[in-house]
């Protein structure tokens, strides 16, 4: 009876629709069960429960939670200054992440796409920071920004630009930017890799033909290469945005949210509120805000990933 439906839902099958006996109906669930159970318990159930907890005032310890409706969100929006700092920092971080690693990655991919002697080595070099943990990246860059002994200030002094030396990570007005630079160093690899894969799909003849017609490198890029990388660009932007909103470790390793909470992100401020100040309701409300921001970029991405199946 189910043979018709099975056939339409799984277009690749032909004869086997007949073989869709009863065993087939639950056997896939058996294959899926271990992964689905652990994933649901560890990821999905906590997500839903967090959203629920954001409606309560609770310190995380006492047996009673007080239902307060959307009050936690109201408190964040009206009384919690650090929430706004964090939100602004997330916005700055997001814009930087959508511009810097993506364009550097694209540039490197175009540069390293042609096969010349050693191109593989150069690709590895530029990809390398991406395999380091963000905690390690943070620690390494902390040395570079060290006020007295760090490379950055040393180079500036040596170049006669002593006026530009800074106590990079302790100056509340600028501390976020050095962290973003360090994060960019780590984030370039993935867009580069995805763009390199995307460039492989552009037919060589097309570019050759344009060249013969007299189109220079810039015009070839603008009118052929970049339009043909549209799909790759969408994936790159979505993944970079989602990753940017997840940023946490590197802040923790470099500034721990300071000085004076000026480098807090929603992710780190959630941790502070929940685990240092026992404001579980506020903490989970921030998590919900962060997740909602992620969805803006994630919904088109998931649509794309589940297309043509």
């Amino acid at each position: 009876m189910a043979s018709e439906k099975t056939a339409t839902l799984a277009p690749r099958t032909s004869k086997s629709a007949k073989a869709s006996d009863d065993s087939l109906r639950f056997l896939p669930w058996l294959f899926l069960a271990p992964a689905l159970v652990i994933y649901s318990v560890v990821v999905v159930y906590p997500m839903v429960y967090s959203a629920y907890l954001s409606l309560f005032r609770w310190d995380g310890v006492s047996p009673t939670k007080v239902y307060v409706g959307l009050e936690n969100y109201g408190i964040l929006l009206t009384q919690n200054d650090v929430f706004w700092i964090a939100l602004k920092n997330n916005a700055i971080w997001l814009v930087a992440a959508l511009l810097l690693p993506t364009s550097v990655g694209l540039g490197l991919a175009i540069l390293l796409n042609s096969k010349f002697r050693g191109s593989h080595i150069f690709r590895s070099v530029f990809y390398f920071p991406s395999v380091l943990s963000l905690a390690v990246v943070g620690l390494i860059w902390t040395w570079i920004y060290h006020p007295d002994l760090g490379l950055l200030n040393q180079v500036l002094s040596a170049a006669g630009l002593k006026a530009f030396t800074h106590n990079w990570l302790s100056d509340p007005n600028i501390a976020l930017y050095p962290v973003i630079i360090a994060a960019t160093w780590n984030a370039v690899g993935l867009p580069m890799l995805l763009y390199l894969a995307g460039l492989q799909t552009i037919p060589e003849e097309l570019l050759e033909a344009a060249k013969v017609e007299g189109a220079g490198p810039i015009r070839r890029f603008l009118y052929i290469t970049f339009p043909m990388l549209r799909e790759t660009t969408l994936v790159v932007l979505a993944i970079t945005a989602i990753n940017a909103l997840k940023a946490y470790d590197i802040i923790y390793a470099m500034t721990n949210g300071g000085p004076a909470n000026r480098t807090q992100l929603l992710s780190t401020w959630m941790y502070f509120l929940t685990y240092n100040y026992n404001q579980v309701g506020l903490g989970t409300a921030i998590a919900v805000v962060l997740f909602s921001l992620t969805l803006i970029f994630a919904i088109p991405y998931i649509r794309f990933m589940t297309r043509k199946t």
């Binding site: 073989a19 999905v44 907890l53 995380g60 040393q154 160093w185 894969a197 923790y252 921030i286």
Partner: protein, 282 residues
């Protein structure tokens, strides 16, 4: 041949190539400055660092930094990371590839919906799960255990693993699976005798990407490990840096020790990084 079209045509071919390499090598050195700084710091003593800063050649090479860092605690962190990674990765891959197989080849009518459900996990910020997970792990007495951490890693690994394996299983020809079905082969046999061997490159890719991600994970370790002797490397290093904030030489040596396994894996299995990421976007 169509050189006149190129803007740099006035440069003779050879010097153009040379210029290209010079620029590229300079960019490489610039890009690796942080790593070079790290290595130089790890090799010098603290006094040398305090006087000359990070970016100068060591007065004398001090290998003992590594053994000191190792004995101060990195040894523990290192082995904890090894334990967690070597349980998480194989168990995760078995679960993920079984699930991915069911989603691609078993004519499963819920396949699209289940796959979308699994993909949600790729985008969810860790913060969205922390509080309930803390309650759950507390109830199960798994706080501050490597077992508990490994279970969490397996759960969080499912979306990416299923995504990569699904990408590769989709390239396994349906005809092969169908032929085996007609010969009366059971689905379990098809899975581990046909599909899995055919997807071996994907399994290797996933092992590597997943191994690196597990080795580097920070936030779950930070929340769910409490005692010093259970810390994994990234957590231990950050802690080390706050406790011994002035001992840059040992900290750099410790960081370098934590990076070495990653570098080795990266050098030997580079192409699998590319293949694995490719599988994830397919």
């Amino acid at each position: 041949m169509s050189q006149p079209l190129s803007k740099n045509a006035f440069l003779p071919g050879k010097s153009k190539v040379a210029l290209f390499y010079v620029v590229l090598i300079l960019a490489t050195l610039f890009w690796l400055t942080p790593v070079i700084t790290l290595i130089l710091t790890a090799l010098k003593d603290a006094g040398d660092f305090a006087v000359n800063g990070a970016f100068s050649f060591p007065k004398s090479i001090r290998w003992v930094n590594f053994s000191e860092a190792w004995e101060t605690g990195v040894k523990n962190y290192f082995w904890n990371s090894v334990i967690v990674t070597s349980f998480k990765v194989p168990i995760g891959i078995v679960l993920e590839s079984m699930a991915a197989f069911a989603l691609t080849h078993m004519h499963f009518r819920w396949a699209d919906r289940v796959f979308t459900y699994i993909l949600i996990g790729l985008i969810v910020p860790m913060q969205m799960t922390l509080v309930p997970l803390t309650l759950l792990m507390n109830a199960l007495n798994l706080i501050d255990t490597l077992t508990g951490l490994t279970i969490l890693y397996i759960g969080f690994g499912v979306p990416f693993g299923v995504l990569v394996m699904r990408g590769f299983f989709r390239t396994v020809p349906v005809a092969i699976i169908e032929a085996a079905r007609i010969d009366g082969c059971s689905w379990f046999r098809i899975f581990y005798r046909i599909a899995l061997p055919l997807a071996l490159p994907a399994v290797v890719s996933l092992c590597i990407l997943d191994g690196v991600a597990t080795w580097n994970e920070f936030i779950l370790a930070q929340i769910f490990l409490r005692s010093d002797e259970l810390r994994t490397l990234p957590l231990g290093l950050v802690q080390f840096s706050t406790q011994f904030s002035t001992q840059y030489d040992q900290l750099a040596a410790a960081v370098l020790i934590s990076v070495v396994p990653i570098v080795l894996v990266f050098l030997f299995f580079q192409r699998y990084f590319v293949a694995g990421m490719g599988g994830a976007v397919k």
